[in-house]
């Protein structure tokens, strides 16, 4: 990943010397860059992003599971989804989202969020975690591996 990006920055179309004027930039993939005065990347600060869910908005439709499994495995198979929507087996109630492994979204599109039609899940940057938690309604999806 690093080398691919390094080549990308080194031979950027905008400038052979770098990717632009000094300062902070955000790459399309979400990675935050700090560039020196020549436009070279001096550090990468890919923020850690965390999956949050709103248990009261989630309707339990499991479209996110389908989207995730499709994006990462090519087929619609909820068993292969990174995130799972769990509900009580008998009551069919109380929907909870968990992760079965750390997110590995290949295409970086966060398909699960894109396909959530009721906006019940979202990815939150590290720095935004406190404010998101403070809202009360959003819960961080626990990792159960």
């Amino acid at each position: 990943m690093f080398w691919i990006f390094w080549i990308g920055t080194k031979f950027s179309v905008s400038s052979l010397r770098g990717v632009g004027p000094p300062g902070r930039r955000q790459c399309l993939c979400g990675e935050k860059l700090v560039l020196d005065k020549h436009g070279y990347r001096i550090s990468s600060m890919k923020p850690k992003r965390h999956l949050f869910f709103d248990p009261f908005i989630c309707s339990g439709c499991r479209s996110c599971e389908l989207a995730c499994s499709q994006a990462n495995t090519g087929g619609y198979n909820p068993d292969l989804s990174t995130l799972r929507v769990l509900s009580h087996p008998d009551l069919g109630s109380h929907v909870v989202t968990i992760l079965t492994k750390p997110c590995i979204c290949k295409d970086g599109l966060e398909s699960c969020v894109e396909m959530c039609h009721v906006s019940a899940i979202r990815f939150v940057d590290d720095s935004d975690v406190p404010s998101t938690l403070k809202q009360g309604r959003w819960l961080a999806a626990p990792l159960y591996d």
Binding site: F56, S59, G60, C61, R62, S63, L66, A67, S69, Q70, T73, G74, G75, Y76, N77, P78, D79, L80, P89, D90, L91, G92, S93, S111, E114, M115, H117, V118
Partner: protein
């Protein structure tokens, strides 16, 4: 074969013989899947004069091409058999993930025949099917049976279809309950399952579903959901469920009040959405892969019916059925009655139809407490209603008579009660008064499973279609006029065709109730899923073919054209009050238009030879 598992499983429960049949592309191109598969299979494999509760009846479960993919609301599943209630086609469509798991287990269809030697359930997974004895589950209500099977087979990826005491006792209005809360199989499919000594089907899915063009499917889905979110019904249904339409429908004069004796129910406001939200709803839920959470999870928190709990997408049917139809204005009692029907495995609509019919008989003095075992079966009498629901489910007392459906109950009771027995071809009518909604009257009269609203679900009067769209649908914008018979025949035929397509793709007709149900808006997703080059015209033809094959099945089973009508009350007795006061259903002209639109004989009711040839159908076994 993208979008399909590619295999059909047939099992003879008597001998245990199994056969695996490969799904061929011709069948897909002719009938698409789901309801189309069920109907065509029954037409081709079930002779006309089979006893619905005998060994030879076939019970078919089928999934469709879109099940288990991102296609919005594609978690429906179809079920069918010859109906013990009507002796014509009995079928249904449910919103549980049953069909998704069926396809993930590797089966497009499961066809059951014969009768198991002892009470059993079927466990179906990728390895095939296993018949498991279950004397311990026989007699259990549907939640208990579901819990027991879940504890044996797990809950994730497992879907359970089971019958309750009503199905076991072969009550002709018994239905099949899926995953505790969902039902399908009007016309007594639960009784057919009971007659086969089959308590449940447990399906465990494990595989993935491949589609032909995932990227294009994603784009189509996002476009579809965007259009859906702009539809006016999306927000209302998502926030308040289908129950939100009850009060407006009452104000249009088309809610059955006291079995059709009236068109005005003064307590209707106590059943409207605000009260529901306050007293009943817990939250909105969605079916698997559906963007529109129109199902209410409900529960009664206090009072006599404290603890009643469940979920159901048919809130409008529930409220109109146990509410105005039975004269009850207590929403909690309505919820309790609905919970009971699910627990016993009864068809909600048929149950409230027979109860309201029984109440009218009681009010008119055709029956008394000596007939009902001391139960005062009066309109609005909640304890009597709840007791009678239990009796119907357990097939005991007066409930054993009412449980036969209104047609047979009226024959047993006599005294001219046939005149107000609300049924078509033996199927109990749903809770809309056709005098206030004539096109729905036509729908009831011609539906392939008897008085039923979802086979056509004609919305040309209640959705904001443009003039051009109405011309395409019905040939005239005048179809918008509720009480004019003009255009209604063509409109019902049009909607029957497109609903057959949606049912066969297994997408929900509530999500696709407006323009989104037109094949123009569905064909892109179907192509992306299957990789087959379906055109819009082909889909319209497939819809028409399915409706015609169901018609042929019914005609072969002994149905006649004369049965395409409504009970006398709705044709001759003007509605005494309400918004549609003084109206009756102008059936003759609408029916004639419908037959012309269908190219069916006005004399025999058979499709014309030319029509059959165009659709590639033939008369088999007549």
């Amino acid at each position: 074969m993208h979008g399909y598992a590619g295999k059909i499983l047939t099992l003879d429960l008597s001998s245990g013989e199994k056969e695996i049949i490969a799904l061929d592309e011709t069948m897909i191109r002719r009938f698409l899947g789901g309801r189309g598969f069920v109907s065509s299979w029954l037409y081709e494999n079930l002779p006309g004069r089979v006893d619905p509760l005998g060994h030879d009846n076939l019970l078919v479960f089928s999934s469709g091409p879109c099940n288990g993919t991102l296609v919005p609301s594609a978690s429906r599943g179809s079920i069918g058999a010859k109906s013990p209630l009507t002796s014509i086609m009995g079928s249904g469509n449910t919103g549980s993930p049953f069909s998704v798991q069926l396809k993930r287990a590797g089966w497009d269809m499961v066809v059951l025949s014969g009768k198991a030697r002892r009470p059993s359930y079927l466990f179906i997974d990728t390895g095939g099917v296993e018949v498991v004895g279950c004397e311990d589950l026989w007699g259990k209500e549907t939640p208990d049976a579901t819990f027991a099977l879940r504890s044996r087979h797990g809950s994730r990826n497992v879907s359970i279809a089971c019958i309750g005491p009503a199905g076991e006792r072969q009550v002709p209005i018994a239905t099949v309950i899926f995953d505790r809360f969902r039902a399908a199989g009007r016309g007594g499919i639960g009784a057919v399952m009971g007659s086969k000594n089959l308590k449940a089907l447990v399906v465990k899915g494990s595989g993935g579903i491949q589609v032909a063009h995932p990227k294009s499917l994603k784009q189509e889905v996002l476009r579809f959901v965007q259009s859906l979110s702009e539809e006016p019904y999306y927000k209302r249904y998502s926030e308040e469920g289908t129950g939100v339409i009850v009060a407006p429908m009452h104000d249009m004069g088309c809610v059955l009040v006291k079995n059709g004796m009236s068109g005005d129910f003064e307590s209707i406001r106590s059943l409207n959405a605000d009260h529901l939200k306050k007293d009943w709803f817990i939250r909105q839920k969605a079916c698997f892969s559906c963007p529109m959470p129109c199902t209410q999870q409900y529960g009664i928190r206090e009072g006599t019916y404290r603890g009643a709990y469940g979920e159901g997408s048919a809130a409008a049917s529930v409220i109109m059925g146990f509410g105005p139809r039975c004269g009850i204005s207590d929403i909690k009692a309505v919820a309790k009655a609905y919970t009971l029907t699910n627990e016993l495995g009864l068809d909600l609509i048929s149950t409230n139809a027979v109860l309201a019919f029984g109440m009218e008989c009681f009010e008119k003095g055709f029956i008394g407490t000596s007939d009902t075992g001391g139960i005062p079966l009066e309109f609005g009498h909640v304890p009597a209603l709840l007791e009678m629901v239990s009796q119907i489910g357990m097939k005991k007392g007066f409930g054993a008579i009412l449980g036969q459906g209104v047609k047979k109950a009226a024959e047993l009771l006599g005294s001219g009660s046939e005149r107000f027995a609300p049924h078509v071809k033996g199927m109990d009518m749903m809770e809309v008064d056709p005098r206030g909604f004539p096109s729905w009257g036509l729908m009831f009269a011609v539906s392939s499973r008897g008085a039923d609203h979802v086979r056509a679900y004609d919305v040309s009067q209640i959705m904001p279609f443009s003039d051009e769209e109405l011309v395409a649908i019905a040939g005239t914008p005048e179809v918008r006029d509720m009480f004019s018979p003009r255009g209604k025949g063509r409109s019902v035929a049009f909607f029957e065709n497109i609903r057959a397509v949606a049912d066969s793709m297994e997408v929900c007709r509530f999500v696709t109730r407006g323009k989104l149900g037109f094949p123009e808006n569905l064909v892109g997703m179907l192509r992306a899923v299957t990789g087959l080059d379906f055109t819009v015209d082909q889909l319209y033809t497939i819809g028409e073919r399915i409706v015609n094959v169901e018609r042929l099945f019914n005609l072969r089973a002994g149905m006649t054209k004369a049965q395409d009508t409504l009970p006398e009350r709705y044709l001759r007795e003007p509605l005494p009050d309400g918004a549609a006061k003084g109206k009756t259903v102008p059936m003759a002209q609408m029916l004639e238009d419908y037959y012309k639109a269908r190219d069916w004989s006005l004399i025999s009711g058979f499709p014309s030879e030319e029509k059959l040839e165009n659709l590639g159908l033939s008369l088999v076994g007549f």
